[in-house]
């Protein structure tokens, strides 16, 4: 086995050309043992004695080589050899038959790309080819499977299972890939990588075909031979020929196979391709295009998920809770698209690890930054400019990304005709940064910080400022192949200040803040191959300052009113088991137990029993000391999900879950307004408790890249917080006197057809839904709508969304949206009458009528810069038209006394098509990450 053998080997190879050309250098051998300190020859003989491997090399080449860092249970031959040959001019090649060839000077070219030979007249260009060119050329070849082997083949015992764990990353940037799919053909089963790119596959030892897929990445197929527990990191190459397979490729079988219902994960690519009004891609705008998600008007903050009020959604960005998710009256979301990697959205069965809100969880993850090189990207749209920079902290192991965004909107507002807006000014900025470090294969650390700030002035005498800030530290630890733990600490604070100076005598300024401080640990443990236990605990501390009304200006005579501070804790413990029963049935059953305490110091009023809560029924006021538990609430939250596979591509899912919510938004307007305040549940206002039942049928047509689903839900909630008619919440210290609690009742049906790949992709969704609220009491002043049930503001019976993306060429793509929904409910006057000779309106039943239906079409064209491989920066233009048909969609209808007569008016925000132009850039070429 010396030099002659090499020649023999090359001859053999030539004979096997058709087979060999298909191989590339990705073959690897996984083995175990301690080889530290051995010479290369000793290493070879030891390995050859233990493994079925053959080395071919020249002795004089390897004399000085000594092995180190070569011990462990699942060593990669590629890694060991790569390290051993570092600093030498030796190269190696592993073929599919476990032969290892050691060469001097140059790579062994086993499969020359045909094109290259042609293009350069048969000889290689000096300096070789760039990575991009190489991938481009390789991308054109038909690929065959790579083989990876873990451990030695043996006869497996019945019920024996092995674990393959590891992380999936983007080969170019080193960023983790979320939702990458691992599908084992022979078992018709698979898993998906988690939010940090980690995966865990449990299979009986054996030989398999493993298919790997990830959004926008090249598909990979491996011949997997696994005989022992192993750890392996997969890398994905970006799919640089996006003509065939574009975006939204993830969750292909997840849709059918996972127990999760009402779940969407969209990555930023999908987000960025949807045309939006201000020329900047917006995560919440995309969320609104999903079935079951509504908002009460365009450009209004707050989402209504499956017939629920906007305060029932919880937004986490890298575990930091965000209380106000909108910028600039809701036209922008608080999340910079250049920083966001993806978001997961749960609206049906919310996993047991989440809690705290009844309707939905938005779990937003930021990008981790490029761990291989420094790069930057940014963009300019009519309203905003943004820039982000990223790069390695420790090469290949740690990275950072920092991104910021700011507006220059004041000059726009000043050019408007509308008198209210003309005298206004508004602006915002936000900044986010993420550091991530993969200390070693068992420990991954991530540090995240976030700050956003908004200010606006309406008609020169009403000023608002608000900001979100937050930070989180996350440590993920692999205890072993079967057991992972994630530990995090996070805080999120929201505060605002509002100054009203319209009437100098009444002028005041008011501040408000809420802090959410959370410690959390989550574990998942494959206790048995078909049981995945997830458990953990979390503790939240709320510190809420309702603020004070302070007189503003020299003339102000306004009373100083302190609305008080409040404190609370919310602790939870959860356990769930994902249990695969047989080949077709998976059950995910869990319980979350939450305990909430409303803490002192505070003053609490007592009221007479059986009387409405108002000034006249107060018995006394009790003071509590710091740390006293004023009131506590606790209870179980059941989570159950069931998935039954019908054939390979269809499934039926059922789920039930219960949620408890311990804080709510004080708001009695139709849309969320910036001075709405969050408030803790207290002695008089009970926590909201909601139940939801869902059932769905899912069917995929993999050959056509189609996913279809139909989901139905029913949900009801108690103690929904509403306000007494005409309540003024700004200066009320005793909220309970203005609040009433009612019942919420919603059901609906959601259909979705989604094309996940191809030149034309996107989705069509239709939602039928029904949302009702009932606030009844034995005291007439505590009733709304005379105690009768009424449609919620966000009751939208019919809604159709079409999102499409058509890629004409690699440089030009078109996107289009179509949105239709029934107009939202509105209260119209039921009569006119005269008081003191003046015409006034009588309103009777709330939300009895509807606004005219809403319809909108948007279109955008994205034009990429040239595809030259070697260039400093790549840029693209996006031209978008929002509301192409110029339809004057009603935002609201209102009535006003004009010169003694009542006149109705219809208001629309965008009555004309709106053209926007955005320029985006990034360092590197078209394909860089």
């Amino acid at each position: 086995m010396r030099i002659t053998s090499i020649i023999w080997g090359i001859v053999m190879m030539c004979m096997l050309v058709p087979e060999l050309r298909a191989q590339n250098q990705d073959n690897d051998i996984v083995f175990s043992g301690d080889y530290n300190g051995l010479t290369f020859e000793q290493f070879v003989s030891k390995v050859e004695s233990q493994q079925e491997v053959h080395f071919y090399y020249r002795k004089d080449w390897v004399q000085k080589i000594q092995l180190d860092h070569a011990s462990g249970s699942d060593l990669s031959m590629r890694e060991v050899l790569h390290r051993a040959f570092l600093g030498t001019d030796l190269r190696f090649y592993i073929d599919a038959y476990r032969d290892i060839y050691v060469m001097k000077g140059r790579d062994m070219v086993t499969a020359l790309p045909d094109k290259l030979i042609e293009a350069s007249g048969g000889k290689s260009r000096k300096g070789g080819i760039t990575d991009v060119e190489k991938r481009y050329l390789e991308g054109r070849k038909e690929k065959k499977n790579k083989t990876i082997v873990f451990g030695r083949e043996h006869i497996k015992k019945p019920n024996e299972r092995v674990y393959l764990t590891g992380r999936v990353t983007n080969a170019e940037s080193g960023e983790p890939l979320v939702g990458a799919t691992f599908y084992v053909e022979q078992l018709k089963d698979g898993v998906v990588s988690d939010a940090q790119g980690y995966y865990r596959l449990v299979v009986p030892p054996g030989k398999y075909t493993l298919q790997l897929g990830s959004m926008g990445m090249q598909k990979q197929v491996y011949n997997l031979q696994i005989w022992q527990n192993a750890h392996y990191n997969f890398q994905f190459e970006k799919d640089i020929i996006p003509l065939k397979e574009v975006v939204i490729e993830a969750n292909k079988f997840h849709n059918v196979r996972g127990t999760q219902m009402g779940f969407q994960r969209l990555d930023v690519k999908a987000i960025k391709e949807i045309p939006v009004v201000m020329g900047e891609s917006d995560l919440l705008e995309v969320a609104r295009m999903l079935p079951g998600v509504q908002s009460v008007g365009e450009g209004s903050s707050g989402l209504n998920v499956r017939g629920s009020p906007a305060d029932q959604n919880l937004f986490y960005i890298n575990r930091v809770p965000v209380f106000n998710t909108s910028h600039l009256f809701g036209f922008f979301s608080a999340f910079n698209p250049d920083i966001v990697r993806d978001f997961s959205f749960y609206k049906s069965n919310i996993p047991a690890r989440f809690g705290g809100r009844l309707a939905s969880i938005f779990d937003i993850s930021t990008r981790e930054g490029n761990s291989k090189k420094f790069t930057a990207r940014g963009g300019i749209s009519p309203i905003t400019g943004r820039l982000s920079v990223e790069g390695p902290l420790v090469k290949n192991k740690g990275s950072f990304v920092i991104g910021g965004r700011s507006t220059y909107s004041d000059w726009i507002l000043r050019r408007l005709k509308d008198p209210d807006l003309k005298n206004s000014n508004a602006g915002f900025y936000d900044i986010a940064t993420n550091f991530s470090l993969e200390a070693n294969r068992n420990n991954h650390i991530q540090l995240f910080g976030y700050y956003s700030h908004d200010r606006f002035t309406l008609s020169t005498n009403s000023h608002f400022k608000y900001s979100n800030k937050g930070g989180s530290l996350l440590w993920r630890h692999l205890f072993n192949e079967r057991f992972t733990g994630t530990f995090s600490g996070a805080f999120g604070e929201y505060s605002y200040a509002n100054t009203e100076e319209q009437d100098p005598l009444n002028a005041y300024t008011k501040n408000y803040s809420i802090g959410h401080y959370e410690l959390k640990s989550d574990f998942d443990y494959n206790v048995a191959p078909n049981h995945l236990l997830r458990f953990g605990l979390s503790a939240i501390y709320y510190d809420l300052d309702r603020g004070a009304l302070n007189p503003y200006g020299n003339e102000s005579l306004r009373y100083y009113t302190n609305l008080g501070r409040e404190y609370g804790t919310e602790d939870a413990l959860y356990l769930s088991d994902e249990w695969k029963i047989g080949a077709n049935l998976t059950v995910d059953a869990g319980i979350r137990y939450s305990y909430y305490a409303y803490l002192g110091p505070n003053k609490v009023r007592n009221y007479y029993p059986d009387a409405p809560l108002d000034e006249n029924t107060v018995v006394d006021t009790v003071s509590y000391k710091s740390g006293d538990i004023i009131q506590s609430y606790h209870g179980p939250e059941w989570r159950l999900a069931l998935n039954y596979l019908v054939g390979q591509n269809s499934s039926v899912k059922l789920s039930y879950n219960r949620m408890r919510q311990y804080l709510f938004m004080l708001s009695n307007t139709v849309a969320l307004s910036p001075n709405d305040q969050w408030k803790l549940t207290d002695s008089h206002i009970s926590p909201q408790i909601g139940d939801q039942f869902s059932a769905g049928f899912y069917r995929n047509f993999p050959d056509k890249h189609l996913e279809t689903s139909i989901e139905a839900y029913y949900k009801k909630a108690n103690h929904l917080v509403e306000y007494k008619n005409g309540a003024d919440l700004i200066g009320n210290r005793w909220v309970e006197t203005d609040v009433v609690q009612g019942k919420q009742d919603a059901y609906g049906l959601e259909l979705m057809l989604r094309k996940t790949a191809g030149k034309l992709n996107g989705w069509i969704s239709y939602t039928y839904s029904h949302a009702r609220v009932k606030v009844d009491s034995k005291f007439p002043e505590d009733q709304i709508n005379s105690g009768k049930e009424y449609p919620a503001n966000y009751d939208i019976p019919h809604s159709v969304n079409v999102v499409t993306n058509y890629r004409l060429s690699r440089r030009v793509s078109f996107s289009g949206n179509m949105v239709y929904y029934t107009g939202r409910p509105i209260t119209y006057p039921s009569a006119i009458y005269y008081i003191d000779g003046k015409k006034v309106l009588n309103y009777s039943l709330r939300n009895e009528y509807r606004l005219p239906d809403y319809f909108r079409v948007d279109l955008s064209v994205n034009i990429e810069g040239n595809l030259v491989a070697k260039k400093l920066a790549h840029s693209s233009w996006m031209v978008g038209v929002y509301n192409l048909t110029g339809r004057k969609n009603a935002y609201s209808v209102y009535f006003k006394n004009v010169d003694g007569n009542i006149q109705g008016y219809k208001q629309s925000i965008f009555g004309v098509p709106i053209l926007t132009l955005t320029w985006n850039f990034k360092l590197g070429n078209y394909a860089s990450e």
């Binding site: 008007g297 209004s300 009519p382 726009i412 050019r415 408007l416 509308d418 008198p419 209210d420 807006l421 100098p504 005598l505 102000s556 005579l557 306004r558 009695n668 307007t669 139709v670 005409g726 200066g731 709304i784 209260t827 119209y828 006057p829 039921s830 009569a831 006119i832 009458y833 008081i835 003191d836 003046k838 015409k839 006034v840 009588n842 309103y843 009777s844 709330r846 009528y849 031209v879 609201s892 209102y894 009535f895 006003k896 006394n897 010169d899 003694g900 007569n901 009542i902 006149q903 109705g904 008016y905 219809k906 208001q907 925000i909 009555g911 004309v912 709106i914 053209l915 926007t916 132009l917």
Partner: protein, 392 residues
């Protein structure tokens, strides 16, 4: 490349111009149902003489008519047991005379209405409190623009200033009565009704009139949230140059009412609901229930409020602004050979004519016909008797 850049700039400008351009247009919703309810409206003031209670019914949104309820029995009762019966005056009005001693501050009054269907409606007791004098009413000439009229208006914005150091009330309401002088632009020269009447004259002077109207809109304010009982520059009505109110002279009478907290909630609620701006940050509308309940049938709802309020008054005058004030156009139809007076149909009789003034000032004997209102100011509903307060 240069062309491209220009084009890009153009695109951005278009985009920016269109952004945020809210558009508001009149809209008549289709309202199918209407709730027919009794409306009781009355303020017992501290003024001696005739006091009025109005009883009516609600009407549907599209007609907006005033529907009087005429056959009711209306009485006011004080906390001493004195009963003041009101007389039916038609058009939903019920009147009673109050004399010295009937109305005392600190005394509480309640209203009882027996409706046509026999149901009995009662208010709660309302205490009569004196209103402080109005400190001043000011007028500021300033432009105003609203979402409905983004092009903007010019005119006078009126403000009221008041204070009540005695602290009798912290809740205020104002109602206004406006009076303005206006002129008929043409002097009558002749009348034609098939034949000429050169000696025709109106029985009195119809060139100058005064018109008085209630100012629409509800105006309330409170000093509840501030440490002194002072209100400054509370916005009242706005009078624009788009009507002829400001053409000659304009007067505003402001009546200030001292309210109870409960009455304030009622009036302030009505004020908010008739001054919506259409934003989604506005409160949801709701039925504003007053203090009238049906004692004979608790299921029956009535709207309106009975309050007992002291009243004070203040009158101000404003003179025409320097800007042009429009007035109803008067256009003459020149009578000549091609347009002989004989061609006027009988239905147009009587035809009033004036002598056309030449720009040079000279008179040539050229007649033109115009509508009667251009000669007779009474036609527009005013009076040609100068009001007592109209002093120069």
């Amino acid at each position: 490349m240069r062309v491209n850049k220009l084009y890009v700039l153009l695109l951005v400008v278009i985009a920016v111009g269109a952004l945020f351009q809210r558009c508001v247009e009149p809209f008549t919703p289709e309202i199918k149902k209407y709730s027919d309810l009794l409306v009781v409206d009355g303020t017992l003031t501290d003024e001696l003489g005739t006091q009025v209670i109005t009883v009516s019914r609600t009407s549907d949104y599209s007609s907006g008519r005033f529907i009087p309820e005429n056959g009711c029995t209306v009485t006011v009762q004080d906390d001493q047991g004195n009963i003041f019966p009101f007389e039916r005056k038609g058009r939903g009005r019920y009147e009673a005379e109050f004399y010295q001693g009937d109305l005392r501050y600190g005394r509480a009054y309640m209203l009882r209405v027996i409706a046509n269907n026999g149901e009995v409606f009662e208010s709660n007791y309302q205490t009569l409190t004196p209103a402080p004098p109005v400190d001043s009413v000011t007028a500021v000439y300033e432009p105003k623009a609203t979402a409905e009229k983004p092009e903007g208006l010019k005119g006078y914005q009126f403000f009221v200033n008041t204070s009540d150091p005695n602290g009798n009330t912290r809740y205020y309401r104002w109602s206004m009565e406006e009076t303005w002088e206006y002129h008929a632009p043409f002097t009558l020269y002749a009348m034609w009704d098939g034949e000429w009447h050169f000696d025709f004259a109106f029985p009195d002077d119809r060139s100058r009139c005064w018109k008085t109207m209630d100012v629409p809109g509800i105006f309330t304010a409170t000093t509840r949230d501030i440490s002194e009982n002072v209100l400054k520059n509370v916005k009242l009505n706005y009078v624009s140059t788009q009507s002829d109110r400001l053409k000659w002279r304009y007067s505003l009478l402001v009546r200030e009412y001292a309210l109870s907290a409960e009455a304030y909630e009622f009036w302030n609620g009505l004020q908010k609901q008739t001054q919506e701006t259409g934003g989604l940050y506005e409160l949801q509308p709701y039925m504003i229930k007053g203090n009238i309940t049906c004692t004979s049938n608790p299921g029956e709802t009535a709207l309106g409020f009975f309050s007992a309020s002291g009243v004070s008054e203040k009158r101000v005058f404003v003179y025409p602004p320097s800007d042009y004030v429009s007035e109803p156009p008067c256009v003459g139809d020149t009578i000549n050979a091609r347009n002989p007076i004989e061609d006027y149909p009988e239905s147009a009789f009587p035809v009033y004519l004036y002598e056309i003034q030449q720009p040079t000032g000279g008179v040539i004997h050229q007649l033109a016909a115009a509508e009667r209102r251009c000669f007779d100011c009474l036609e527009r509903g005013g009076t040609n008797i100068r009001p007592d307060f109209w002093v120069y």
